[in-house]
């Protein structure tokens, strides 16, 4: 138990009661975490967003909408908040969508206590969990964007190093293994992954703006 660290306050948004309570129980039992609030809809989740929340655990499939909207809102209102997607399959498409909206990591539903706790802690400590499927999906998406339906260059293209690291992660190698392959520390690998996540969000935002301008929803003043 670490006394001198402030206890992390964790909000949970999940519509399935059993899973919600399971998550709350795991958080409660963890030594340095508290449940800041529980919601079962987007609306309720919105009410939970306040300065006091450190981590948001959020399901994507909510009865009144897609969790990705709440992630985007939370990221805009509370830039420092850590957001973890809770997913039943951890399927790459939805996870990457969430990362683009501003999520920091993901957690499989029904994960064991230890697994869940360590995932939350990793994110809290600034880590960036990534699964091979997510890595390969990011690569695919970046390639598609770089090839560019519209030929627009990416605002934040991935560096060669980042692409190589993503490639190795997609093959199933862990942080430690990737670090050894590239002769860098696991910490640096995590930094790279965080940078990749950020770029993903940036590109996604600029793309959204571009599309909005195209659709006439936004007018840019020059």
């Amino acid at each position: 138990m670490i006394k001198d660290q402030p206890r992390a306050r964790i909000a949970i948004v999940e519509d399935e009661a059993i899973l919600r309570e399971d998550l709350a129980r795991i958080v409660d039992q963890a030594a340095d975490m508290d449940v800041a609030g529980i919601g079962d809809t987007l609306e309720a989740g919105r009410g939970l967003l306040s300065g006091g929340v450190d981590v948001l655990l959020i399901d994507l499939a909510l009865p009144d909408g897609n969790g990705v909207d709440l992630i985007r809102e939370a990221r805009a209102r509370l830039p420092a908040i850590k957001i973890i997607v809770v997913s039943i399959f951890g399927d790459a498409r939805s996870v990457v969508n969430a990362i683009e909206a501003g999520a920091d990591g993901y957690l499989l539903k029904g994960a064991g206590e230890q697994e869940a706790e360590s995932a939350i802690r990793t994110v809290l400590e600034g880590g960036a969990p990534i699964s091979p499927a997510v890595a390969s999906h990011i690569l695919l998406r970046m390639r598609e964007r770089a090839a560019g339906v519209r030929g627009e260059p990416l605002d934040a293209p991935l560096t060669e190093k980042e692409v190589n690291i993503l490639n190795d992660l997609a093959k199933g190698f862990r942080y430690k293994e990737v670090a050894r392959l590239h002769g860098i520390s696991p910490h640096t690998v995590a930094d790279h992954v965080k940078s990749i996540y950020r770029k993903l969000a940036v590109n996604s935002r600029s793309e959204a703006v571009f599309e909005a301008v195209q659709a006439g929803l936004i007018r840019l003043n020059d």
Binding site: A92, P132, A133, L139, A170, K171, G172, F173
Partner: protein, 643 residues
């Protein structure tokens, strides 16, 4: 159906009219000048004497040769010397500056004053020894003149149609204007048209290689060069070569003009025409378009005739010793060439008439050019032959003929271009329509394919669900209902079901990319189990590149085989390390292996046997071979397939 050029350009008629009008106007002008110069001041001497025809050597003729003869017109021109004689009156002898204007010395002319040759004396300009140049204005030496002085102009006819022209006696200054006008008609204008001929010849030669109708342009160039050659031979006052050479050049050029005229008109009436059904060869030769091969033979024939003819002409003129006087030979050659020229002209006329009668709406520009050139030739012959004046029309026609032909060619090119544009537009439209049809068909096909794909995918997922999670859940429910299952077994069973569902999701997600990342995703599924069982997972994945043939179905079967193998290794073998590897061998086959260092298994055991049979069935389903080797030192399961 593609369109073809049919309607002539509407300004064509206007252009043709302008050209014809210009030609007619200029011809009228020339005709006027021609008659004007007939009104020559001074006394006209037009009573010729007939000299002894046998005496070819006329330059030192004795006076006895000059006997008065009344010359009938039909006989006049046959190998004769013609002598015009007059006696000067007292006023003429007293004239300040008496001169003789020789109008029609088509050929050599010599002047005798009281039997003395004075041809070299007092010439208006130039110094031709043989006075070949026309016209001639010559002063009579005052010392020799007195009342009753006999003046003879002796002409030997050699070249041309043999028009007999009188000479005029008068004051030099009074005759000079007539001399200038005559010189313009007979010398300056032919010189100018000769220059035009040179330009046309050069143009034809240069344009022929660039242009489709090569034969036509070569023939035109030949025609123009022949014209220019005739002018060179006739107009050169003091040629750097012998008179006989000059005659040779003229005759060769004349022959060449006749041959090239035939060649040109055959080309013109063939190259723009469609082949006609065959008929009697003689008719076809005279009237119908010639084939490309025939025209090629004609070109070769034309050049050969000119070459052989030139050699023959020069041989006749220059052979030494000659049985007859060269001048007489020249006269014979000239007469023969005249007939050849007339035949060529007739043949051309027949072809051109046939050509224009055959086609209803021919190009009026070229029509006017042809009509004019033929009419001009006929008119010139008539003028020379019957009125003893100079022919002026052919010179003019030669000036306009190439111009009209060029215009006509340009109009043709325009028609071809317009037709090509129209055709290409039509083709474009056709292509567009076809493209629309094809696109519609392609859309239809794509929709069908899409529907078929969806159906296949749907049935596959149904099968997967049925095969995996459906059966498992149903079994669990039945067991739970009959209370035959422990809580742990229920949890284990449900976990397996969820795992299988996750594998299905993974296979759907990863199946489209590469097997490398598909296996990468798989690691996240089995690693927690290995960790829970305290077994180290060794990951040896090579990048095997894109595997487009490994779809979600194959991926899922591979996942299930690997999961089964992994579960067996963890549960029964007591292994401490499990190695998963992926590589592509030299033959391009993909090899996926799962090896453990456990104690192996006995395949006779029922449960293991069923698991193995399951794995084999899945391998067969994806056309893969499954090799299982087991010993006390471990088990390896290798899936091999081509991708």
């Amino acid at each position: 159906m593609l369109t073809s050029p049919s309607t002539p350009w509407r300004h064509t008629w206007l252009l043709a009219a302008i050209i014809v009008a210009l030609q007619l106007a200029l011809s009228a002008g020339l005709l006027w000048v021609n008659f004007l110069v007939e009104d020559i001041p001074g006394r006209r001497v037009d009573a010729p004497l007939h000299a002894v025809a046998q005496s070819a050597n006329y330059s030192n003729l004795p006076d006895s040769a000059f006997e008065t003869v009344n010359l009938p017109r039909g006989v006049c021109c046959d190998r004769t010397l013609l002598i015009y004689r007059t006696t000067l009156s007292a006023e003429e002898a007293e004239m300040h500056d008496a001169a003789v204007l020789i109008v029609g010395a088509q050929d050599n002319a010599h002047i005798y004053v009281d039997g003395h040759l004075v041809g070299e004396f007092g010439r208006a300009e130039g110094q031709p020894a043989n006075m070949a140049r026309r016209p001639q204005l010559i002063r009579l030496p005052a010392a020799l003149l007195h009342e009753g002085t006999r003046v003879d102009v002796a002409v030997q006819r050699a070249v041309g149609f043999g028009h007999l022209r009188p000479f005029h006696v008068g004051e030099y200054s009074a005759l000079f204007n007539s001399y200038v006008a005559l010189r313009f008609l007979r010398s300056d204008m032919p010189f100018a048209t000769g220059v035009i001929g040179v330009f046309v010849a050069i143009f034809g030669l240069c344009a022929a290689p660039l242009f489709g109708a090569r034969g036509l342009l070569f023939a035109l160039a030949g025609l123009a060069a022949s014209w220019a050659g005739q002018q060179v031979a006739l107009q050169l006052t003091a040629p750097p070569w012998d008179t006989l050479i000059s005659y040779g050049v003229y005759f060769t050029a004349f022959l060449s003009a006749s041959v090239c005229a035939v060649w040109f008109f055959v080309e013109w009436t063939s190259v723009f025409e469609q082949r006609r059904p065959p008929r009697r060869p003689l008719f076809a030769l005279a009237l119908d378009p010639w084939s490309a091969l025939a025209r090629k033979r004609l070109a070769i024939g034309a050049v050969s005739i000119i070459a052989v003819g030139a050699a023959f002409i020069f041989w006749l003129l220059l052979r030494d010793p000659s049985p007859t006087h060269p001048m007489v030979v020249a006269q014979d050659i000239d007469r023969s060439l005249g007939w050849i020229g007339l035949l060529a002209l007739a043949f051309s006329l027949v072809r051109v008439l046939a050509y224009y009668l055959r086609g209803s709406a021919r190009d009026p520009i070229e029509g006017s050019a042809f009509v004019f050139v033929i009419v001009a030739a006929v008119a010139d012959i008539a003028m020379v032959r019957f009125w003893y004046t100079y022919g002026v029309f052919l010179d003019l026609a030669v000036t306009f003929f190439p111009l009209a032909l060029l215009l006509s060619l340009a109009v043709r090119a325009r028609g071809v271009f317009e037709a090509a544009t129209a055709n290409s537009e039509k083709l474009n439209r056709l292509v567009d329509e076809r493209e629309q049809v094809i696109r519609t068909a392609m859309d239809e096909i794509r929709r069908n394919e899409h529907a078929a794909m969806l159906l296949e995918e749907r049935s596959r997922i149904m099968r997967d669900m049925h095969d995996g999670i459906g059966g498992q859940l149903l079994g669990l429910i039945l067991q739970a209902r009959s209370h035959k299952v422990s809580n742990d077994a229920l949890i284990g069973g449900l976990e397996r079901s969820l795992d299988d569902l996750r594998l299905v999701v993974d296979s759907l997600e990863q199946g489209e990319g590469s097997l490398t990342s598909a296996l990468g995703a798989f690691r996240a599924r089995i690693e927690p189990r290995c960790e829970a069982a305290g077994v180290e997972l060794s990951w040896e994945i090579e990048d095997v590149g894109a595997t487009p043939n490994v779809g979600p179905d194959k991926t899922l079967q591979i996942y299930r085989i690997l999961l089964e193998a992994c579960t067996n290794a963890l549960r029964h073998s007591g292994a401490r390390r499990v190695t998963v590897s992926l590589r592509r061998d030299d033959a391009g086959h993909i090899e996926i292996a799962l090896r453990d260092d456990g104690r192996g298994f006995d395949s006779k055991l029922t449960s293991t046997g069923r698991g193995l049979a399951n794995m084999r069935a899945r391998a067969v389903r994806i056309d893969a071979t499954l090799d299982v080797t087991t010993s006390h030192h471990g088990t390896s399961i290798v899936i091999t397939f081509s991708a």
